[in-house]
Amino acid sequence: MIRNSLWLILMGLLILEGSLIHWLIPQNWQDIVQISSNFMLIIILYIGLYLNRHSALLYGLAFGMLHDFVYYGHILGVYSFGFGLIGYIAGMMPRRQSGLILSTLLMMGIGVLLFELTKYGVYRLFDVMNMDFEFAFTHIMLPSVLFNMLFALAVYIPMRKLMEALQGQKVQAD
């Protein structure tokens, strides 16, 4: 059960992010800012930070690709590329097992911001939209970072426990 838990969680989030999340964010916020909820990315960042970079890369590529298929609008591969790359980078960060909640959240924030920048960059590069960077930064990227950090905070304790259980399992297997 624990072994399968990661992809089950990611699958659940993939299914929910298109339906629940649009209705959970208060409408008043949505009039001013546009939030992209990358809850899958948060889980992938947890995998990168607490397990290892290779599984983060693989989960990122696979679930990013699923997201790309389901919401195909402009191009395939943006989410897959972004999730994989950022999961891998998160895995390369120096690991401190002090369990500081703040440093983890900061990493999450930076990760989400990097992902948003990648996404914006790719869309601009392929010329599918011409949104002003300043507008995108203040109205999409920053609110998304804050919102996703909120989610990261909410799942911090269960995710830490799960990661520790997974690590323990791995040590036993070795």
């Binding site: 298109g18 339906s19 209705w23 409408q27 909820s37 191009i75 599918v128 998304s144």
Partner: protein
Amino acid sequence: MLKFMGNKRLIVLMLGLICFFILMGLTLSGRTSFYWPEKFLKDSIAWTQSLFYRPAASVSGFFEDVSKLKTIHEENQILKKRLTDYALATQQLNSLEDQNKRYKEALEFTERQKQVSNYRYRIADVIAASPDPYNGTITVNLGEKDGIKPNMAVMNVDGMLGRVLTVTEFTSNVQLLTDLSDTQANKSKAISATVKGKEYKSGQNQGSYGMIQSFDKEKGLLIMNQVDVNDRLEIGDTVITSGLGKVFPSGIPVGTVVSREPGDFGITHKVAVKPFADFRHIYEVFIVEVPEVK
């Protein structure tokens, strides 16, 4: 940087980068049909998503409703009055339709002309909406099996929403108007539009006409270009689709005119249109099916 990612790793990363950019370049907005693994994945995920969108929407809708309870009574009164008007209008419509049919027969309309405005409205439920703000795609629960084809117009009771972008067996992806853009690679279709009451009629050179080409995300307005300087279009007018572009049927309400100013080259005017539809909270949509002429 090189120190803690060795040479081999760097090469793999570069190869990955190249592969992804090739994939992105190849799939750049041009495709309307999928391969079967994509279809299978998408349909199975969409089916699961359809279990969640409705309950989530109704829970959130419940809280909105509670806060709106006071205005509902008032609304109810107005709606009751409307209903009687509606009954009257239906009656009139029936007799007018009958009359119209006789006139058409008298004028010996061809089958093609008769069919041209006989649209079918297919009701579809929304299954999921893209969480990516740059990508306004929603998934609806009608697909190839139900006769949905790419480029069909999509609307709801408020007005125009977008067009069908891709179809799979049981679902289809709808590109919302918020994704309209006049950049090179964005292959969204411009919408030919006119103004209600000032439509173009043959033989008469005064119809309003413009092309809705892009969406200004910063202000939430649609931009209509190529409006003639002498056009009679005014601020406050209702913009509807004209049907001249051959992609969308005519007469679908789009929005109201909020501003008009000289365009980029000064030859034509640029008009900002506030869309009727709210693109964020959509429960169900109508897909407009134009009957094919055999």
